[in-house]
Amino acid sequence: MNNGNTTREITLTVNGRKRTVTIEVRRTLADFLREDLGLTATHLGCEHGVCGACTVIVDGATERSCTQLAVQADGREVTTVEGLNGPNGELHPVQEALRDHHSFQCGFCTPGFVMAIHGMVEEKKAGRPSPCSRAEIREELSGNICRCTGYQSIIDGAEAALAAGAGKES
């Protein structure tokens, strides 16, 4: 088995910083971010793509970090929740909207929701079909599971983020 193809050197950009690392090829991107880079804002719930807590942005699109291998991120650009803050730690507009609407309780699912909503705002800015009504937002966020809030406040926050985000730079 150990014939040189079980570890690999990759170069990727995480939150704007280019890194070259040697990793085991069987490491998932989520485990790489959390355990190797210490970026623990990306949470792991179900670890098979259902709960959405591990959602990150890869080359501009939301993706699950638990259902891809870190080695596959070679040459790609990954953004986690840690990468959304301003230079002095200011909250991202999506985070502000969620804070203003009390869109979380325990906070475990929140990073995934932040990234999913960020993705919706970016799609809207890019002029692609994006959710407008509460029903559409609900449908779009069905890929993220929250066990505390009952979702109403999260939909409120997403609605505000979409309304504010379309005119703002992120």
């Binding site: 088995m1 090829v25 998932t28 670890e47 699950r64 259902t67 596959q72 993705g119 779009e140």
Partner: protein
């Protein structure tokens, strides 16, 4: 470390990829495309292949083209790209309507059209679309290229006619003819969950009479099922409620779905009938509107 150890190869040509599948010839190699099914299987150690061949670095497998009345979707086309493609919407409205049922946006941003078909989950949308439209599945192996009709492609539960040294490279579908309407209906417990039953329907009308009907059902057998008897019950008839009821009855007569904790066998059978009526009704309506 969640997945068991494996050897990872990321070929940059289809020839190199086929070589990686051929050698060693131990059948213990998996092809990795979008990974939305395979990576969870690795992490859960339900799959423990000795070798992974990641085809994502192979150029040319991610194109959507239409020529001579045939839509060709490269195996690596992301489901989300197909969903947003004007070509797919026009040439294959059935697939465009089925795609949003798959998982969620973040899954479809990574999941591929070819990967879903090659994975052959009988509850999944794209295998059902392929069966409904008699898609041609293009495969490359050490003996060159071959084209497998959808009717021969899905051979069993998560099992296809692809040999262990073959890679699905593209899906070919005849572009939707004028006067044709399509609809995809499914019932799942939550959006993005696997369907308890789903129906893909295409209806071509000649005047008010059905000239051609295609119906495929997901989630009720080991493979997506073509409802030939329901199709026969529609051809030559006007799509009214008695005809829909007769077609639905004919379509589910031979089904023997299995039960799980989400639904009994009779419930799934009932569901398939309801969805046949609903999908055919909508498809016929769209066929009328398309003229």
């Amino acid at each position: 470390m969640k997945p068991a150890a494996f050897e990872y190869l990321s070929p940059t040509s289809i020839e190199e990829a086929v070589q990686a599948l051929t050698d060693p010839d131990d059948g213990d190699t998996k092809v990795l495309a979008g990974g939305q099914s395979l990576v969870p299987l690795l992490s859960l150690r339900l799959a423990q292949p000795a070798r992974i061949v990641d085809i994502n670095r192979i150029p040319g497998l991610g194109e959507i083209t239409e020529s001579g009345g045939v839509l060709t979707i490269g195996t690596l086309v992301r489901q989300r790209s197909a969903e947003h493609s004007d070509v797919v919407r026009r040439a294959c409205p059935l697939m465009a309507e089925a795609l949003p049922h798959i998982g969620h946006t973040a899954i479809r941003n990574r999941g591929t059209v070819g990967g879903s078909i090659a994975h052959a989950d009988p509850a999944a949308e794209l295998p059902t679309v392929a069966a409904c439209l008699d898609a041609e599945l293009v495969a490359r192996g050490p003996r060159g290229e071959r084209v497998i009709p959808a009717a021969e492609f899905f051979t069993g539960f998560f099992t296809t006619a692809l040999a262990e040294d073959e890679i699905l490279t593209a899906v070919r579908i005849r572009s939707a003819a004028p006067g044709t309407g399509a609809a995809y209906e499914e019932v799942s417990r939550r959006h993005g969950d696997f369907a308890m039953a789903g129906v893909a329907a295409v209806v071509r009308l000649d005047g008010d009479v059905v000239a051609e009907a295609r119906i495929a059902i997901s989630g009720v057998d080991l493979v997506p099922v073509r409802a030939g008897k329901a199709e026969a019950a529609l051809v030559g008839r006007v799509v009214d409620e008695p005809t829909l009821v007769a077609a639905a009855e004919a379509g589910v007569a031979d089904l023997h779905p299995s039960a799980d904790l989400h639904g009994s066998a009779p419930y799934r059978k009932h569901l398939a009938g309801v969805l046949i009526r609903k999908a055919v009704r909508t498809a016929a309506q769209r066929a009328r509107e398309s003229r």
